[in-house]
Subunit: 328 residues, 2 copies
């Protein structure tokens, strides 16, 4: 039975059950006025990210609604993490064909579970009828002058990536081939990495003051490392032999395809960052506080572009990122 | 010829021609990193609004692209104006079926012309392929404690509206009936009011400290006055005889239909606000600085709901607002 827009907003987004709410005293006005009113911590800068997910483009038609809710927020928290920001608030523009309550209930569960885990509050938004798409605007704060940028790296800086890139792309291939149910433990791991990517918020915070540059990996590791290098006026050299390929990915895809997923697959939402050699000890000490794995996969050099090497020799590889209008 | 997403973003949004750019020293990082980095003025609170426009829902298919760009930003600046905020920055999520350069050029012109007029800078966004829709997130600032809310009105406060409500709804009807070209001066006026609504930023700033409550009129004057009254725990009484109907509207629609457009039509993006009688002189003095017309159309009273009266008698009128899932 269709329900009205305002009732829908109230039921699922304005007044979610208390365990789902991130109660933040800095939200002076949340949903229900013309705009949200938010108190910034003194001495901090504001960090703002906006990313859209469109059905059939960023996730397959029929993807689990809980995953859609999770991912809509996760991709934006990932952007904040790449800036070293503390996430605080978000707004949601939800366009859906009809007010389907089963969809909304699962969607809201995915969204709010992640929101609570990262202590971010939904403070506004907009619900409209139309083809399924979601825009989330995430807002965070960072002490003045401490944000991580793409542009701070120098030749000789060590290049790192978090997690195990390539898993999400392999998971998406599985999802498209046979849906999200069943499969062995390796397949379930890969599916989960696509469906429920974990924003690297804690890692981003620990990288403040030690990383020289940072970017989140959404369009493929090689392409995004290339963007970091370009913004820093350097070349990036990736050692293929050091890429942290997961056992699940190797079991599913074999050596060459695993490498392709790790370098060119999208949707990882890991952080790719650089550390000056002189700060390496400080960096490694801080990493003992961070749960996710980080791996040195190469370095920056004088020049431009991205070079992927194995045993010192260049591998021919296509390092272009995903382009929403040229591909697919 | 299709062009790639990154080239498209760069050409139309990252590096628009200098006259279109609002250069703001508080933008520490704009488009081109993972997120925008923005400096807040000390002692201010952050105001955040997010509104989406979907083709066929918020504007007819085939609406002029310049108007689509203008309206996507205008509806959000209107939300900030209703809070008494100074607009500062915005982010744009643009979903469009293909990278159509003629569309984009006109769209960007509409968007940036309005942005420049209100000194707001585009600081981030996202472009994807899909059915035409636009989400804008607008960010502004307000001195701590001075934001206008919906909830501050009391019985006896005077009820005002800016501009001439109803024009936009009549303009939309014209647009749907025969497109945006031609027509006499009255018809062109009504069309312009739908296609290029003017956010009441300056009025919102002048209302700080004198208005007791404020809301922007997007779903119809009666419905939005009703929301303000409900948030304030009051009833709203609108005197139909005092509604500022434009000559263009009266000429186009006749008396009864004009009243219906003014009370129930959407898309006005005017401000509806209340002023305590004791602050009326101060308020009127301030209005000499504001270009747009403001009209006292009634008052708040003890009770609840919205009552429309003429010569002291209640008019039967449907004061429901537009609901995206129940209507159309």
């Amino acid at each position: 039975m269709p329900i009205g827009e305002f009732e829908l907003i109230a039921r699922y987004f304005q007044d979610p059950r208390p365990p789902l709410v991130a109660a933040r005293p800095d939200v002076l006005l949340g949903i229900g006025d013309d705009a949200a009113l938010l108190r910034m911590p003194p001495g901090h800068e504001l960090v703002a990210a906006l990313d859209t997910l469109v059905e059939g483009r960023h996730f397959p038609a029929g993807a689990p609604p809980e995953s859609i809710g999770h991912r809509a927020l996760a991709v934006n928290l990932s952007d904040l993490a790449a800036m070293g920001a503390t996430p605080a608030w978000f707004l949601l523009a939800l366009t859906l064909p009809r007010a389907d309550e089963a969809f909304l209930e699962a969607f809201a569960r995915g969204l709010f579970t992640l929101a609570r885990a990262h202590d971010v509050a939904l403070v506004g938004g907009d619900t409209t009828a139309g083809p399924l798409s979601l825009s989330v605007q995430a807002l965070g704060t960072v002490p003045a002058g401490q944000a991580l940028r793409r542009s701070g790296a120098a030749p000789g800086d060590l290049l790192y990536v978090s997690g195990t890139p390539g898993d999400a792309a392999a998971g998406l291939a599985l999802l498209q081939a046979r849906g999200s149910q069943g499969g062995d433990a390796h397949e379930q791991h890969l599916l989960q990495r696509f469906l429920f990517p974990e924003p690297r918020t804690e890692l981003g915070l620990q990288l403040r003051g030690v990383a020289s540059a940072c970017i989140d990996v959404s369009d493929g590791l090689a392409a995004d490392a290339g963007r970091l290098a370009a913004a820093s006026g350097c070349a990036a050299i990736i050692d293929a032999g050091r890429l942290p390929l997961s056992d699940a990915l190797r079991a599913q895809a074999g050596e060459d395809q695993s490498l392709a997923y790790a370098l060119r697959g999208g949707d990882d939402y890991e952080l790719c960052f650089t550390v000056p050699p002189l700060r390496r000890a400080d960096f490694e000490a801080r990493m003992t506080n961070v749960k996710c794995r980080v791996t040195c996969i190469g370095k920056l050099a004088v020049g431009s572009g991205v070079r992927v090497e194995r045993d010192g020799a260049s591998l021919a590889t296509d390092t272009r990122g995903y382009d929403h209008f040229s591909n697919g």
